[in-house]
């Protein structure tokens, strides 16, 4: 067909044709069996979109239908078909268990036991910029890929292995992303672009998924089924927890085991509970691929635990904030997962601030003012969120900084900026150490050829880890600049000099050396400094299960937050409207409050969507919500003004005392909103999101068409 440059199948893939991080089980192009509706079987390269669409329409695909595995219950049955025949534990991608004390047996001795079963939806990242990139095979034989990715260095390895290239033949760069949230943590278009570029040497190839393709093939937040039993003494002390978490990971690993493990670690939240049995499983199915999404398994766990906490508070007649405060594990104590907390810890202060907030103190009067057919409620949640990769996978960043020949400070950032603003934070950090303003600074975005390996932009570790490496590199460059300036100015010691914007000054004599002049007198190797940082790991061993440790359990440093939601529920329509939304967060010291607020507000809005309207529906393995008119995102009318407050518990292992803030705001909204709805109407749904249909069904309204509670 004219205009078609290449038609490719797995037969043209010369490498392993497998992608993945822990378990490499995802093909670039399918070579054995199609495992979900978004699997790619052929790749067409065409001159323009019209030709491409016509060519794709001419492909005839013959498939032998196999029995699919469409839900977790079926997947776990002994006679269920296997999604991967070669996986030693069948359809269980990974399972883990943490037991302490007498485990679930202690529930029998508790004065009160509350029980909760939940089904949580699949959530779509819905970044405004869908998966995209372009690539070219240069005449020198280098495959250059420019992609919207959170993980350029890891992609490079994955692409090279999957396509059968040497590592040094592949270069990946990651300019600013149009949103990521975890959905670009891992390969999306990269290998496909590489394959296309290899087939069309010397010509640029572009791939840009349509919204429908993004919804079809992109990863999602794991749908989850949870069962919790929580037991307490009559004085409100938590005593026992039995928690079972089941995550639908879809057909490929795609970090699903790591997501599950983080959920397991956080299954008992920030509380001291002596007797626990926490169990979690990530289950293979033929549904869409689940993977990383802001929160990474923790929003599911918090959804169950924090609702159980409210049920318990109600049962005991205790104030919900007070029940949480009484049971917090303080620094030096063990949380329910069994690991001792050794990081900075401001959650108690967060809870105190929330208890004093006008929304909490004034809730009685506000609720009483609900109009006809309206009910109002206020709910809270408290959460913690681990940062980084855990005890085994090295959480390392390598920063590089240069005094350019023109006398500017150039920061080589190894971590992608998907909208969190960490690129600006890099300049802020280096500018702080080197006393330079933005006008004297330049930035190089992640590029496997120019910047140094620094891990992923994920896991609330981007600035936490890279920032420390950058402080080290900047400090080294600062010392070198001052020492060399001292030599050139005939000054006895560098301590007599001050580094000022654009120049070095000898304070005593007033003599100055412009940085451009200093740069001209230095060789390139002197003008560049590098710094490495490896984040600290926990010495705790709550489990001997090495697989769980590899998958990240336990973490050493946590951010904390407590959130409040005030809702108004319409009895006639079932609509839940969020009227007030407050967070009080300890993410260590704030380097830039505006950026921290952005993270918190953005996470809370995604949490609001998770709680109230976002439901990526799949039936028979097929997507039922293929676009933004069927998958509903919160609009500017749905998100209320939010109040973001901070408790800045200085964390010595973080840059200038900072901890990560990217994810912790995502964990609390769903349970806070559900607790608020329960406060309003005395009832709880088992299934989420709380769509009007579900709310009407919960309320027992006869006109609740088809909604199941």
């Amino acid at each position: 067909m004219p205009g078609v440059e290449a038609v490719l199948t797995h037969a043209q893939v010369r490498g392993s044709n497998r992608q993945g991080v822990i378990r490499k089980d995802q093909p670039v192009l399918v070579d054995d069996k199609v495992r979900h509706c978004g699997d790619a079987v052929a790749l067409v390269v065409a001159r323009d979109q019209g030709t491409l669409a016509a060519a794709l329409g001419l492909i005839e695909l013959e498939l032998e239908p196999l029995e699919p595995v469409l839900d977790m219950t079926r997947a776990l049955e002994p006679d269920a078909p296997l999604v991967h025949e070669d996986h030693p534990t069948g359809n269980i991608l990974l399972a883990g268990e943490l037991v302490s004390g007498r485990g679930q047996a202690a529930l029998a001795d508790c004065a009160q036991v509350v029980e909760l079963a939940l089904e949580l939806p699949r959530q779509e990242h819905a970044f405004l910029e869908t998966e995209a990139g372009w690539a070219i095979l240069t005449p020198e034989g280098t495959l250059e890929i420019v992609a919207s990715t959170q993980t350029p260095f890891r992609d490079r390895t994955e692409v090279a292995e999957a396509l059968g290239l040497e590592l040094e033949q592949v270069r990946v760069s990651a300019p600013y992303l149009g949103g990521g949230f975890g959905g670009k943590d891992g390969v999306t278009v990269q290998s496909l672009l590489g394959l296309a570029a290899l087939a069309c040497p010397g010509r640029p190839v572009k791939m840009w998924w349509s919204r429908e393709e993004s919804f079809l093939a992109g990863v999602k937040r794991h749908p989850a089924r949870l069962h919790y039993r929580l037991g307490a003494e009559s004085d409100g002390r938590l005593r026992a927890l039995d928690a079972d978490l089941c995550y639908d990971t879809g057909p490929y690993d795609h970090l699903g085991g790591v997501v599950m493990t983080l959920g397991l670690e956080h299954a008992g939240g920030p509380y001291r509970i002596e007797h626990v049995r926490l169990r979690a499983r990530a289950v293979y199915t033929n549904n869409p691929v689940s993977g990383p999404f802001r929160g990474f398994g923790v929003p599911q766990a918090a959804a169950a635990l924090e609702q159980a906490m409210d049920l318990m508070a109600q049962r005991l007649g205790l104030d919900p904030i007070e029940l949480r405060r009484r049971n917090l594990a303080r620094r030096g104590q063990r949380v329910a997962s069994g690991a001792r907390l050794d990081c900075s810890h401001g959650l108690e202060e967060c809870l105190q601030k929330l208890a004093g907030h006008q929304w909490w103190r004034g809730r009685g009067a506000w609720k009483a003012q609900a109009g006809p057919f309206k009910r109002r409620g206020v709910g809270v949640a408290a959460v913690m969120h681990g940062l980084g990769y855990g005890p085994v996978v090295p959480d390392v960043a390598n920063a590089k900084i240069e005094l350019t020949p023109q006398g500017k400070i150039r920061v080589y950032s190894g971590v992608a900026d998907m909208g969190q603003g960490n690129a600006s934070t890099c300049l802020q950090i280096a500018g702080q150490v080197l006393n330079q303003g933005l006008e004297n600074m330049e930035l190089v975005l992640p590029d496997t050829e120019r910047t140094l390996p620094s891990g992923s932009a994920s896991a609330s570790r981007t600035t936490f880890t890279y920032g420390q490496a950058l402080i080290a590199a900047s400090g080294q460059l600062r010392r070198r600049l001052l020492e060399r300036a001292a030599d050139l100015l005939f000054v006895a010691s560098a301590t007599e000099l001050a580094l000022l914007p654009g120049r070095v000054r000898h304070s005593a004599s007033g003599r100055e050396l412009p940085l451009a002049r200093l740069a001209a007198l230095m060789q390139e190797s002197e003008r560049v400094a590098v710094g490495r940082h490896r984040a600290p790991v926990s010495q705790e061993r709550p489990t001997a299960d090495e697989a769980l440790r590899l998958h990240g359990l336990p973490h050493a440093v946590f951010s904390f937050a407590t959130q409040l939601a005030a809702v108004e529920l319409d009895e006639l329509t079932g609509q839940v409207e969020l009227k007030g939304f407050v967070s009080v967060c300890d993410c260590g010291r704030l380097l830039n409050q505006q950026l921290a607020e952005q993270q918190m507000q953005g996470a809370m809005a995604q949490g609001l969507g998770y709680a109230l309207c976002e439901d990526f529906a799949v039936a028979g393995g097929r997507v039922q919500t293929p676009d933004l008119s069927t998958y509903l995102l919160p609009t500017s009318l749905d998100a209320p003004d939010m109040d973001s407050l901070w408790v800045q518990a200085h964390e010595p292992s973080g840059p200038f005392g900072l901890k990560g803030v990217g994810e912790v705001g995502m964990d609390g909204p769903l349970p806070a909103i559900s607790n608020a709805v329960a406060d309003a109407c005395g009832l709880r749904a088992q299934r989420f999101p709380l769509t009007p249909e579900r709310v009407l069904a919960v309320l027992g309204r006869p006109w609740a068409a088809g909604g199941r509670p």
Partner: protein, 158 residues
């Protein structure tokens, strides 16, 4: 067809299929990549442009509809190197995260403020409700539009 219109203050004349989507014409043919496509179905607002000062979705428009009109894209908003007050307010308030929704959001805000120079917060939310943002939770965007709204004119002495 031969198409004539004004683009960011300059006359444009070009040959294009009459059914070419305006978003493709602007992005692919004219290189104005500040026009973003987030859904192609008129749901997200990322492709918003101003047509004779009114915000329109360029993914739902065909080239022929541009005939004789005056188009403003985000590239044409800053005058003589100075940011438009709405752009300036977006920067100051931190209303930009990934930036993908920003061009459409800014143009929608310009349209809103053109119709109502002093909208209340709820009116700003209403005016921007056709533009999705996945990063910010909208709060700082609303703050920015509030800042960009003209301050009250001092009342004339009678």
């Amino acid at each position: 067809m031969k198409l004539r219109f004004t683009l960011n203050g300059r006359p444009v004349e070009l040959e294009t299929p009459s059914d070419r989507r305006v978003v493709d014409l602007l992005r692919e043919d004219l290189g104005l990549t500040g026009v973003k496509e987030g859904c192609g179905q008129g749901e997200c607002g990322a492709c918003t442009i101003l047509v004779d000062g009114v915000s329109r979705l360029s993914c739902l428009m065909l080239a022929a509809q541009l005939t004789g009109s005056s188009i403003t894209t985000i590239e044409g908003l800053a005058a003589r190197g100075r940011l438009h007050p709405v752009q300036e307010a977006f920067v100051q308030q931190g209303a930009v995260q990934c930036g993908f929704c920003t061009p459409g959001m800014v143009l929608a805000a310009v349209d809103l403020l053109g119709r109502d120079p002093q909208p209340r917060r709820e009116e700003i939310r209403d005016g921007l409700s056709g533009n999705l943002c996945r990063c910010t939770g909208y709060q700082k965007i609303v703050d920015a539009v509030e800042q960009a709204a003209q301050p009250p004119q001092p009342e004339e002495e009678p």
